[in-house]
Structures are given as C-alpha cells and as structure tokens.
C-alpha cells in the first residue's frame, strides 16, 4: 500500500500522521481546549458528511459534480418548513402568458399564484410535510437527470459544470423569491435534550443526525457493493456502452441515482434545519467542505467521503476554539479557509484525476470564432464603438451608469474568455481575483496614499499574483476537479482577506477607494467633467472605462490570432497532443491564467473606482459563479460573447433598457440567468453570440439563395465575404 504512493503522497501522509499525534497528546493534556470543541463539531461534521455522500451518488450516477446539490437541499427544506408552518406549497416563478395583454390594456386577467394551500389553511403534520417535500426532491432529481444531465451525458465537462451551476443559481433564486433571504427556524425532529458526553454538554440531536448519516453511508456502501443495481451502476459509470451491451439500461440507472441523490439532499436538509436553522445560502456554502470530503473519497467511496466529512466538522469545531486560545494567530479566517486546505491536500494525496466515464462520443467545445476583419466588419465594429461612446458620454445619467456597468462586465467576461474559452480551464475564482485588486487599490491608493499611476498597477499585479498562485493546481488537475479547487481558492481568498478589518481588508464595515486621478486631474464617477451634467457617473469616468474596455477587446482579438492563442486552443482540445506537438502546456496554462487574472483584476479596480465604497459581497464565490454564468450565457469563447455578456450584466445596459421598455427583470435576474444558463449548456454551448452568428449566417445564405447563388460554406462566412 505505502509503496504505491508517490513521494509527495508519502510526505502528505506522514505530515497528517504527525499532526494527528501532536493533537492526540494535546487532547490528553488539556481536553477542555483540545478535545471537547471537536465533539461540538460533530454536528457540523454530520452535515458535511451527509452532503458528501449525496455528491458521490450523483457523481457515480452521471459523472457530474453537482454544484447544485446544496441548492436542492435548500429548496426542499424551505418547501418542508413552509408546509409545516402554514400548509402552503410554493410554486416557482413562472412567466405569465397573459402578462403582455394585461400590460397593454392595463387590466388584471389572471395571476399565477405563488403558493398553493395544501393544508387547508392549517399547518401540516410533520410526516406529511416531509413526504411531500421529499417527493419534490425526487421530482427535482428526475428533472435534473432527464432535462439536463442526460442530454449532456456526452458533453464536455465545462457544459456539465456550467449546467449544475445554473441549477444552483436557479433554485437559490427561487427560494429567495418565494421566501425571502431571511433565516428560518424549524421544529425539532430528533429529541434534543442536552446530554453530557466526555465532559461536554451537547444536544442529543447531533448524535441522532450523526447516527442517521452513518447508517445511510453503510446502506449506500452495501447497495453499491453487493446488489446487482449497484454493480451495474458502477459498470455504467465506467463504460456506458459496455453496460448497454450487457443489457443494462444505463440511462434508467442514472435516473434512479439522481432521484436517490436529490432525496438524500432533501432529507438531510430537513433533518439539519431544526439544528442550525436555514438561510438560502447555508447548504451551498457547506457544499464546498463537502466537495473536499467527497474528493478525498475520489468521488467514489462513500465511507471515506463520510469519514472525511465528519473529521472536517470536528476539525472545524477545534479550530474555532483554538483561534480564541492562541491569540498570537493572525486575525485571518483560517477556520473558514479549511475547505481549501482540505481540497488542496486531497489533490496532493489523491493526485490522480477523478475516474471518468467512457462514452460513445465526446461532445464538442464551443467554437472560438475568429472572423477575418474585412472592411464591412471593421465598419461594424467602428459603429458599435461610436454608439457605445456616445451612450457612455452624452446620454442621460442612468444610461451612462448602465454603460459603465456593462463595460466593466465585458472586461470581467474577457477574463473568462481567455482562461475558460480559449484554454478550457474552468475557473470559479475570477471575482476573488477582482476583489484582491479592488481591495488592493483601496489599500495602496487611499490608505497608503500612493498616486493612482502607482496604486492601480500595483493592485493589478497583486491580482495577477494571486491568480497565478491559485492556478498552480491547474498544472495537476483539470476539468471538474479544477473547478472545485478554484472555487475553494476563491472562498479562501474571500475569508482570509475580505471578511475582516485591517490592512488589505475592510476599513470598517466597508472598503473605500478615492477616485482615479492623473497629475491632479481626477475622473471618478463623482468628479466634475467639462461638459457633463453633475449626475453620477460623470462623463470623465465613462471615457476612462470606455478606453480601457476597447483596449482590452482589441488585445484579446490580437491574442486569439497570435501564436500564443493558437497554442491555447491546442491545449484546450487535447493537452497530450499539444505537448506532443511541442507546446509547453504548463506555461501556456500559466500564461492564460496570468492574462485572465489581469482582466479580472482590472475589472475589480474599475469596480472599486465605480463604487467608491464596497464590501466583500461584490467579490465572493457567488459573485464569481454569477459572473461565469453571464460569460457563458453571452458566449464563453468569443469576444462578441464577452460583449453580449456585458450587456446582460447586473444593472447593465441590456437590463436597464429592458426595465424601461419591456418589463422589470430586476428581482428575477438570478432566476432567469440560472434558467437560461442551464438551457444554454444543454441546447447551444456557444451562447447568445454563437446563436446570433448562426442565425446571421442562415439569413446570408437565404438571401444568396434568393439571388440564385449557392450557399456559402462556413470558411467563406468566416472570411466575411
């Protein structure tokens, strides 16, 4: 066993053993400090373990790392609480087909209800509420399988990750829309009298929960080890075609496992809710720890995943206490960064990639379309720039604001285009990098008083540095594992830097940044400008952002056509083939992460200048996930996609125009974005930009056929003739 480990793995195991030994001695010497807190962490551990085994089930079912697992738990738990509290069953927001008529004639015809009364106006019994909630979970599992992941079973990992992120955003938003963002309490299910265990007073329900988790873990282990269903599911996970040849319906089995995973998520959500209370984000935040635990079990071992989850919870409880005890520890969120440490460790100890599925065909990646610039195209771009400039500088203030938001969105989306679109590396930490730069520019510029021409490059360099360090795992991992690592890195950066006061952290409850100025002439959003009205943002800031955005777009355009760009695409398609063709894969990846971090950091700095005063929320993991969602929706692999993404960005020009002339999409942004993100991943992985391009090509061919000319082949269309 030990001989089969690599050197790095052996060092990892030895270090772990040493730490465990030191802790064991400390626990004997001073149990109140070094043992009892970890008993208190058992409850958290049970939750992490419960979600980890659910993740393993979903992975075994369909090779998907389900970022939506926590959101499914949240949704089902809220359904349960709502039924239990007043018998109301929520209906997710649906588009009202008669809304346009109502709007036009200003009448009320029909409203889709937000809730259905299932309890006859009275609260429902716990058992019934739980049954209906779990049926909802089963339904969610079926929909997830049949509508999303079955169509995606041969798709590239990127599409699967994006789809599961879409599910997460969608369900999360549905919960907020129906129940608000406040925490909810639930009535106890397990007996919860306090008991004394090893000198600690702890509520009994933690042990009931722990027992349930262990029981289900053992049951799942036995199911997959001994039953024909379990063995066949493992077979289908390894090779769908072979399983089919043996007479197993791989598809049906995957569906069953999805239902199982969803019901498990829902069940544990309901069981946990009375212990912790729930917020819309609770389970998704815990999911990151669970991902770490599931990764330690290589996404295939229930027992290791559950044990790692429980251990993580205990460690968490322990660190909570130790942070008080050891006051020499720097004031950083070490405890909250624990998932990152575990995931990083998992990557070292279990460095080999996750077991992947053998499929009949591998799906295609979105095309990195690069048009030949003809006179027509160039004039089109020029027109777009002139219109954008005019809107940014001369339009009324609400359009100026929307334009700056959109243009910053374009720069952030470009950071995804380079790293995810061109090189195929899924990064879920781009907003954390933006945050590093944003907090950096506040620290260097405002706190330390450096001039902008020093502070801004310095902050961007900090962002690039963080991006490069966090990118190091990409040299060893790829696909969904990399997505998890970057998600954990983003969380670690958020917790260690943004969520505390002090240098590089918050000033008090927010971070402040002075407006940008060069040689005494400032052009922040509030600064006076020659011809602009004094509404915010003034035209000077608009020009500043416009120039940078245009430069970024042109730079990526050059990059796509450069030798480096070609090498990036080679790495995206096949790393081994690229390496065999003499491409240095490691340096290309690092270059991509560096360039991408530059754009993210620039976007962060501009956000800081725009807001003037900002907090961690703008740069957290959910901001990163939402940013990826918009970038993918626009088109992850083209500059046109990034521009489209920018118009869709929160409070961007597209949203503002829609508010004004169509309907107020504001509160539904995340909900609608989540829905369309899933739809894009399933039906059209090239996003809105690719969709428009194909429509345009069809129109061109239609016109040509009317003129009696033959259709153009794609290569000719690319040349823009």
């Amino acid at each position: 066993m030990l001989q089969s480990l690599s050197r790095a793995q052996r060092v990892g195991v030895a270090l772990g053993g040493l730490l465990a030994l030191v802790w064991l001695i400390a626990a004997f010497v001073d149990p109140a400090v070094y043992f009892q807190p970890s008993v208190l962490g058992l409850g958290t551990g049970a939750i992490i373990a419960a979600m980890a085994i659910g993740l393993v089930v979903a992975y075994r079912a369909s090779g998907v790392i389900n970022f939506g697992h926590g959101a499914i738990a949240t949704y089902v738990t809220y359904v349960y609480i709502s039924l239990f509290d007043d018998g109301m069953y929520p209906i997710p927001p649906l588009p009202n087909p008669v809304a346009p008529i109502e709007g036009l004639f200003d009448v009320e015809i029909f409203d889709i209800p937000t809730m259905v009364d299932l309890g006859g106006g009275a609260p429902m019994a716990k058992g019934w509420a739980m049954l209906i909630a779990l049926l909802t979970a089963a339904l969610l599992g079926l929909i997830a399988h049949y509508a999303v992941f079955r169509p995606l079973r041969y798709a590239p990992v990127l599409a699967k990750v994006v789809a599961s992120v879409g599910i997460m955003l969608f369900l999360q938003a549905a919960v907020v829309l129906r129940f608000g963002a406040r925490a909810k309490q639930a009535d106890p299910i397990f007996p919860n009298d306090p008991v004394d265990v090893a000198g600690v007073r702890i509520n009994e329900d933690r042990f009931w929960l722990l027992g349930t988790v262990i029981l289900i873990t053992v049951a799942l282990w036995a199911l997959f080890k001994f039953t024909k269903f379990g063995v066949a599911t493992r077979a289908a996970a390894e090779n769908e075609q072979f399983a089919t040849l043996l007479g197993f319906n791989a598809d049906f089995q995957a569906g069953v496992s999805w239902v199982l995973a969803s019901v498990l998520a829902g069940l544990f959500g309901i069981l946990v809710a009375p212990i912790t209370g729930v917020t819309p984000l609770l389970f998704t935040v815990l999911l990151i720890s669970s991902l770490g635990a599931a990764l330690l079990g290589r996404m295939s071992s229930f027992v290791i995943a559950a044990a790692a989850g429980i251990a993580l919870g205990m460690l968490d409880g322990q660190l909570f206490r130790v942070e008080f005890e050891w006051d020499w520890l720097p004031n950083v969120g070490i405890r909250r960064a624990l998932p990152f440490v575990v995931i990083a460790l998992a990557m070292v100890i279990r460095g080999e990639s996750l077991p992947s599925r053998g499929a009949l065909v591998e799906g295609r990646l979105p095309e990195a379309f690069a048009p030949v610039i003809t006179r027509w195209r160039a004039s089109g771009y020029a027109l777009l720039m002139i219109v954008s400039f005019a809107l940014t500088v001369f339009a009324p203030f609400q359009y100026r604001a929307a334009m700056t938001n959109s243009m910053i969105g374009v720069i952030l989306a470009l950071s995804f285009v380079v790293v995810t679109g061109y090189v195929g590396q899924i990064s879920l930490m781009q907003m954390a990098i933006a945050g590093v730069a944003a907090f950096g520019v506040g620290s260097f510029g405002t706190s330390a008083g450096m001039p902008m021409l020093v502070a801004m490059p310095l902050a961007i360099l900090c962002g690039i540095g963080f991006g490069l360090v966090a990118a190091l795992p990409s040299l060893r991992t790829r696909g969904a594992s990399l997505a998890i690592v970057t998600l954990a890195s983003g969380l670690a950066i958020e917790e260690i830097f943004f969520n505390r006061t002090g240098w590089f952290g918050l000033d008090r409850s927010s971070k402040n940044s002075d407006p940008p100025e060069i040689f005494g002439f400032d052009f922040g959003p509030t600064s006076d400008f020659f011809f602009s009205d004094d509404k915010i943002p003034t035209a000077g800031f608009g020009i500043f952002v416009f120039v940078l955005t245009a430069a970024c777009c042109l730079a990526v355009m050059r990059l796509r056509r450069s030798r480096l760009g070609e090498q990036m695409l080679a790495v995206r398609v096949n790393e081994r083939a690229a390496a065999a063709a003499g491409v240095n894969v490691a340096s290309i990846k690092l270059a991509a992460f560096g360039i991408s971090s530059f754009f993210a950091a620039l976007g962060g700095v501009l956000t800081a200048y725009k807001l003037g005063s900002y907090g961690p929320d703008s740069f957290g993991i959910f901001a990163s996930l939402t940013a990826l969602a918009f970038a993918y929706l626009g088109g992850i692999s083209t500059i046109g996609g990034a521009v489209t993404a920018g118009t869709l960005y929160a409070s961007g020009i597209g949203i503002v125009l829609s508010d004004e002339y169509l309907f107020d999409i504001g509160p539904y942004t995340a909900y609608v974005a989540g829905f369309f993100l899933v739809a894009t991943a399933v039906f059209n992985n090239e996003g809105i930009d690719g969709f428009q391009r194909k429509q345009f090509h069809q129109v061109v061919n239609w016109v040509r056929s009317k003129m009696g000319l033959g259709p153009l082949d794609p290569a000719a269309l690319r040349a823009g003739q």
Partner: protein, 241 residues
C-alpha cells in the same frame, strides 16, 4: 434444426447518414458458426454494432429472433433477448473484480459463475482481482466466459485474436465452436485471421469496402483462395459477383 436466429435483409448502415455497409443480406442459424471476414475498413464491426442496436440503420432490416432491432435508446433490451456481443475492446469493466464482471452476465437473477470457470479454469484463481489488472488473454477469457454464462441465443465476437499471442487465440477459437455445438447458439465471429476463422466456422461472408464480396461454406471459400485474396487486396475483378 435450422432455426433462423439472425436475418439481415438489404441492410444499409453507417454513421451520420453516410452508409458504410451497403445492401448487405445475410443470416445465421441456431447451432451454426458463421464468420464475417474482410480487410480493415470493410464494415465488419459496423455490422455487428448495428445488430446490437447501436448503429444507424439507413435502409433494409435487421431481425433477431423474429423481432426487428430496436433503436439506440432501447439497445439494452437486446442483451435481455439473448443477443450477446463481445466487442473489439472486449467490454471488460476494469474497475470491477472478475467475479463482479461475471455477475453482470445477466441483468436479473443468479448467474452460474462456475460454468465460466469450467470453460476457463484459469479464471478460478482470479475471482477477486480487479479486471483491469488481467493480461490480454485473461481479459479475453473473461469476456468469452461472461458471454457463455449469459446463455446467448446469438453470440457475436469481434476480433477475438486482436492483440493476443497465437498460442492463446488458437486455444480460444475452439471454445466458440463448442458453444455452438453444446448450447445450439448461433455464433457470428468477426476475424481478420482468415484461416483461423474458416477452421471453426461453417460458413463465411466476406465484406470488401462495405459490399458483400463473396459468401459460402468454409470449404468453398478455402477452395476459392484466389478470389478470397483478391477481395482482401481490393482487386477489381469481383464486380460480377
């Protein structure tokens, strides 16, 4: 005695709407070993894949046991009817143990694992080993052994000799004959090794560039060696066939 198990009539099959095999008609009866021969790219594997319901039928029909072959989404049903296909890459699940691989021979009920061992005693010692750790010959034994205990009515074996030493596949070939004789199963083998295949087969079909180049009993083909060689080398004298 001669029950028709597989009937292919005027079949066109291929990929993305392009026919790779054109106008193929053939049949296999119970208790008979039939070889499907031909050079690389002739369409042999495509034909087998189509019989298993994983190909694209563009014209004509494939009937197994009197039923026409279902579409891709229902392909798993074929194995339940008794159509067992040992693919070119053997269909061994590397992550599972040898015993688990054998137990998957049937989708329901108990599986007679010992019967596979009676055909291949070497498998007896390997039961708890992960299949990915087996040698090529052991993997092929596992694949054929699993096919035997699935009690096939139609057994299809693709390129049994691929990647194996002569001493190994010369021992495996007679087993295929034995299955047909003992269980009255219809057996269809795809081979590049012509002499080897004709030794065990009753009849053979020869494909060349997707067309049926010649067919007949093994003895007839052996006697018409020149034509057989020509169909492998793609000589253009075959058009009058």
């Amino acid at each position: 005695m001669s029950d028709r198990v597989l009937t292919i009539t005027d079949l066109d099959t291929g990929y993305d709407g392009v026919a790779v095999v054109r106008g193929l008609s053939m049949h296999v009866d119970a208790g008979e070993v039939v070889a499907l021969l031909g050079p690389n790219g002739a369409g042999k594997t495509t034909t087998l894949t189509t019989i298993s319901g994983m190909g694209q039928v563009l014209g004509g029909s494939v009937e197994v046991l009197g039923r026409s072959v279902p579409r891709l989404r229902q392909a798993h049903k074929l194995a339940r009817w008794g159509v067992i296909h040992v693919p070119e890459n053997r269909g061994i699940l590397f992550q599972l143990t040898v015993r688990e691989n054998l137990e998957l021979a049937k989708t329901r009920g108990k599986v007679d694992v010992d019967r596979a061992v009676s055909f291949f005693p070497a498998l007896g010692q390997l039961m708890t080993r992960r299949a990915g750790l087996l040698s090529g010959g052991e993997q092929q034994m596992l694949a054929i052994g699993r096919a035997i205990i699935a009690e096939p009515k139609l057994l299809m074996v693709d390129e049994m000799s691929l990647g194996l030493a002569p001493v190994i596949y010369e021992n495996l070939m007679p087993v295929v004959r034995r299955i047909a004789d003992e269980t009255n199963a219809a057996v269809l083998i795809v081979e590049q090794h012509v002499d080897l295949a004709l030794e065990v087969a009753d009849r053979a079909y020869v494909l060349s560039h997707g067309d049926l180049a010649m067919s007949g009993t093994s003895a007839e083909l052996m006697n018409n060696r020149a034509l057989l060689d020509a169909s492998y080398l793609g000589v253009e004298t075959l058009d009058e066939e």
